[in-house]
Amino acid sequence: MRFVTHIIAADVRRHWPVLAAWLLLVAGTTVLDGVHPRLAADAGSVRSLTILAELLWLTKLLLAFIVVPAIVQTHTLVGSDAFWMTRPIPPRALLVSKALLIALVMILAPVLAEAALMVAYDVPSGRLSAVAAESALWQTFWVVLLTVLAVLTRNLAGFALLTGATLMAFVAVLAMTMALLMARLEDDPPGGYAGATPDDPTGGLIWMLLVVASGGALAVAQYHTRSRLRAVGVGVAGVLLAFGAAAYWPWPILVHQLELPSWAASASALRLHADAGTVGTVDQSHRRWREWETLAALVRVEGIEPGWSATVALREAAVRLPDSTNVVSPFSNHPSPVPSEWDDVRPNDGVLARLLSVERIVSPTPPEPQRVPVFFVRSPGDESAELKRGTYRGRFEVRLVRQHLETVLPLKPGAAHAGPAYSLTIHDIEQRPERLVVLADEMRATSMFDRRPRADYTVYLRNQRAGEAIRGFNGGYLESSLLSRVLPFGMSAGGTATGFAATPQAIEFTTRSDGAWSVRLDDEWLRGADLVVLRTTHEGFVERTLQIPDFPVPRPDIDRHAARNPPPGALQASCDVQLGQRVALMGIVDAQ
């Protein structure tokens, strides 16, 4: 221990200017992150501080690339001419001293700064600990990566070269993977959905912990042997192990606990209904998919309790024709929102109206019926092809979405809500042509260790007397799109959907729409208005069967198609392989 403190003291003496600069930057960015949202009412200041915060973050990022190699390479592990190498310094003491100093400066200091910010926002201690633990984990992850690059190089120039080469290799691998995926998507037909599973960050956590451990093992090997070959071997083996362990980890310790309501289990609840008369085809925009035809119907869910809405996803479907031919849909499909008996036309509008105790939800876009894909069939290639009719039977996954009232705030500056994971403080309200802007300070504190599903928050401007509510959109400030949110060493360590974030918000409520749905936000309307924050969580799913008699199937070469189709179980396995990415490219266009 005496050697450890001695080496740390020597390193601090050697590098105090960069260490001080780093700590000042950590303190500065923390203060800025704390002050910034509270100036939400002053758009000019917010924009200036946003730019300043980005510049500070960029400086911090660059400094991190200097501090870590500086500390490590004071006692360089590469080459044979370093002064310390023939000194009686135990490798373990050297490694521990470097790790301690880096951990104190690069991990503990930023995490403590973020914790202080959370204290300022009254985040409860339990949640604060979880968020801080996740931040520490991310921070450790990035720092270990930098440390690994530093222990394998002799000086800052070598470190920069290796970092650049690593980044380029990463980009090349990413580009190749994307190219392969895109090529595969080009060849794949539409549809394909693996089915809902509760979110489980366990695999990601295991991967991250093992990668950190691999980096640590690499450093230990390098400190003890000073053989880059052995050290890299240890590191590569560790990373491969991390991928394997994350993929096959059998204990989902962080799986989100869903609160599927008891009424949902009843067969009489959540019945799906669709009429054959609403079935139509939707075009696929991509030429590769044009050989497939998507049949969609207006599906409605019945027997859902107030405060809940649903999405449905096709898992399997078959149409039995009068001649006993069974035509099976070869693909499943991704979830789509469907209206319930509470909704008029647009899914969720009625549910929200009831929850907000208003008659209608004002939206900039007029409500239109939305069809849900229920069947896929090979395109006949001839629009005048004969239709056959049969009995449709589809198995659907019905995902339940819960809507909660998080808070109701009076529409006036100073109104505030402080929840454990979410807070909102109104700083100012601006009336602009055709819209109202609420300038607010919003805080979210979530972590991968939360056992409940991540909540989405939406803000509504409501006037109960007028029976109207308008959904707000964050339209003012740039905050969420900036680089510091997705790259290392930003707030909440970057790159995560979870973490702590305090941001200024300009929530816009626009009234620009067609005449039938517009609302006039005059003083009279606003006098009776308040602000409602809704919390939305996905709470699991049940399976339901949809039957549609007299279901029309465009006449393709049905017989051959039917004969080729695998049984439903095998069908799902093939669908599982194709999960995911396709939905973004499908671009379903309503044929009507």
């Binding site: 050697r14 002064f83 023939t86 000194r87 009686p88 310094i89 135990p90």
Partner: protein, 308 residues
């Protein structure tokens, strides 16, 4: 006689080129061993192998009884290593350097440190990077002597130093407390730099150790032989392998007898050049070194010619 360093077939290759080629030798404890060789002979590589800074391709070395590949902190606490190519912590002053290394050595002697610091004139408070090369070497030597190591390894410590600084460094080594059994291994490409220090000399060329023996034995072994023809007749070239030709000037044939310590060395010369006037004079270490270097160079050239 115990050995501070022992090597057995020590070899280090860089790609296919052997920088150190099968060296087997011993450095006796308590003496000063000078490893001499031209630039690029493999001295620094040999010393780095001893210090465990690089790993041998073949063979082994034991330093203070430990395998050089497994030198641990307790062994390094008994070794003082100073190298021309060593990167010093340039951001430190001499005092900071001493304060920095001191806690690692249980045998650190403050009084010796202060005395050496004074003798070497290391009172400057500038950072090492701002000091002259000679002063930096003095600081490095000081940081390696103050804990009274059993073995001091100096790799080309005097290269590029002015004679005054060189003398100061040598004096520091010579005036080390006699009660402590110091062993010094010092490498140099210039025999003059180390002849005042050395008890033993090893000569290394192209990675091979050509010989290693005590200085007294070496001085006894080499003689410059001048054979003067009294009647002007030409002499045949030296015939024995131990006789290294030095050329002919007028009526005088010169060669170096490299085995003159043998009891019948003089008689063999007399027999070979009967009737001639023969003078035999001792060589200085420098002359011996030059003779060997020339011979090595000539043999290298002939190897190349034979190969071609």
């Amino acid at each position: 006689m115990t050995s501070a360093i022992e090597t057995q077939g020590l070899t280090r290759c860089f790609r296919r080129q052997a920088a150190v080629d099968g060296i087997t030798m011993q450095v006796p404890a308590g003496g000063v061993f000078a490893l001499i060789g031209p630039n690029g002979a493999g001295k620094t590589t040999f010393i780095k192998l001893l210090m465990g800074l690089i790993r041998p391709t073949r063979g082994s070395a034991r330093v203070l009884g430990r395998d050089s590949r497994r030198l641990d902190p307790s062994t390094f606490a008994r070794i003082g290593y100073v190298s021309e190519s060593q990167r010093l912590p340039d951001w430190m002053t001499t005092d900071e350097l001493l304060r920095n290394v001191r806690p690692f050595y249980p045998t650190w002697d403050d009084a010796l440190c202060r005395r050496l610091q004074r003798d070497l004139g290391l009172t400057d408070r500038k950072r090492l990077r701002a000091l002259s090369r000679g002063t930096r070497m003095k600081a490095a030597l000081l940081a390696s002597l103050a804990y009274q190591p059993e073995l001091i390894v100096l790799d080309e410590p005097f290269t590029g130093l002015d004679p005054l600084v060189r003398d100061e460094l040598i004096a520091a080594l010579l005036e080390l407390p006699g009660a402590h059994p110091w062993t010094v291994l010092v490498s140099s490409h210039d025999i003059e730099e180390v002849e005042r220090l050395a008890d033993w000399i090893g000569f290394i060329d192209r990675g091979r150790l050509l010989f290693a023996e005590p200085v007294a034995a070496l001085l006894a072994r080499f003689r410059l032989v001048e054979v003067v023809s009294e009647n002007g007749a030409a002499f045949a070239a030296p015939t024995l392998p131990a006789w290294v030709p030095q050329g002919t000037a007028g009526r005088t044939l010169r060669f170096v007898d490299t085995q003159h310590a043998a009891p019948d060395a003089a008689e063999r010369i007399q027999a070979a050049y009967a009737g001639a006037d023969i003078r035999m004079t001792p060589l200085s270490l420098r002359e011996i070194f030059v003779t060997l270097a020339r011979e090595a160079s000539a043999s290298s050239r002939s190897d190349v010619m034979e190969a071609s």
